[in-house]
Symmetry: C2
Subunit: 237 residues, 2 copies
């Protein structure tokens, strides 16, 4: 009986290929099979990030996954897991590319649940855009006893308001069509002046726009609002 | 007048040198001056992480900073900032090593506040142990609408209980002598069964211990409790 292949969940960071870790780079450039989610049209954001590192002799497995939540994604993940299992059973190791960090709101988690019980699995953490955004904006995020909340804007309005009313520091994710609702709540809570908007974190087309000047009609899903702690560091340090 | 040096805040990740990003590695190995916090005894965890990458011709500047909060750290940060400013004024670029991510509970933030107004500054995000812990434990952390809370165990007991009572998913940090208080609250809230304990994340001496078996007397400051979301991914995917 041949040995099973190794499954890797590879965090590749928010967009800038230089934000891969040395570990992700080593595995990516040495593994025989690379797999990545694609849209139904065949586009893969994850592959685009690392395109310059992929060698022609590596086998690539696109995994079509639905981005919208209108239909159940279950059959897509089942099929994707089957494809990967075929390689792993034959002893081929497979690296699945994951934007940001694999275990944080990641599509990899659904493959992990299906495959990790059967196959040896290593998850390599990646730079999450949620945290990278503070470094890139140049704002200290949390001091000492501060709680950091990472909050999806997709929450129902009441829940979103309740969460935001209690924050020390927060990063609001998944904005897209939920931007206007979110900005209105931030204004009601008196948080607008300290809220920073950024889209396409670390990509060449990254944009930082004053939040009051953002056109709600053009906000992409991959945009964030960062609300740094209002504790002054110097006050105590 | 000579050009000012560039200040870098370099996220070097949680402990494994392979978790540096390609960008941090490039800057670390090319910059003329490297600075890092040290304990009052001269030990530097940050320098230890990247020791193998430092070249003998690079100038090293240790920055003694107090770890305890008994005395004001203000004079230490003032002195450290002065030392770095001397290099930067002379046109020498300086990389400050930051464990994890520079903008998340980091000592770099106090230097950033003092120096960024005067000197060109780039902050390179790093892998935070808070997020890396889920990858290393092999547990999906957050799904869809889940809020992730990063919570310091140093909070007063009532505040800590209030925060933990509302979580979807959480990472509790800065445990040390606050472990027993934290574990007791988790038990009261019925969260103990899903709480995972890890210490020295990604270091050679990393330990994963069932939380009920942890000896509170031996818990280091650099330990975490991860409480993954209880949403099943497969249920909806």
């Amino acid at each position: 009986m041949s040995q099973l292949g190794q499954l890797y969940g590879l965090g590749i960071g928010p967009g800038d290929p230089e934000l891969l870790t040395l570990k992700a780079y080593r595995i990516l450039t040495s593994v025989p099979v690379i797999a990545y989610p694609t849209s139904e049209k065949g586009k893969s954001v994850a592959r685009d990030i690392v395109a310059e590192f992929i060698r022609s002799e590596q086998l690539e497995i696109p995994l079509p996954l639905p981005f919208s939540t209108e239909n159940s994604a279950q059959p897509y993940y089942d099929l994707a897991a089957e494809k990967l299992a075929e390689c792993l059973i034959q002893g081929q190791s497979v690296a699945v590319l994951c934007e940001g960090d694999p275990m944080l709101y990641g599509t990899f988690m659904y493959l992990f649940e299906r495959l990790a019980p059967q196959f040896p699995t290593i998850v390599v953490p990646g730079i999450s855009s949620t945290l990278a955004s503070a470094a890139i904006l140049g704002v200290p995020l949390t001091y000492r006893n501060d709680v950091l909340s990472i909050i999806p804007a997709t929450l129902p309005e009441n829940h979103l308001r309740d969460r935001l009313a209690q924050i020390d520091a927060a990063v609001i994710i998944k904005l897209g069509k939920h931007f206007l609702k979110t900005r209105t709540i931030l204004a009601e809570l008196g948080l607008l002046a300290q809220s920073l908007y950024i889209e396409q974190v670390s990509y060449p087309n990254q944009r930082i726009i004053p939040i009051t000047e953002v056109d709600p009609a053009t906000v992409p899903y991959w945009s964030l609002i960062v609300i740094p702690s209002q504790q002054s560091g110097s006050e105590f340090a």
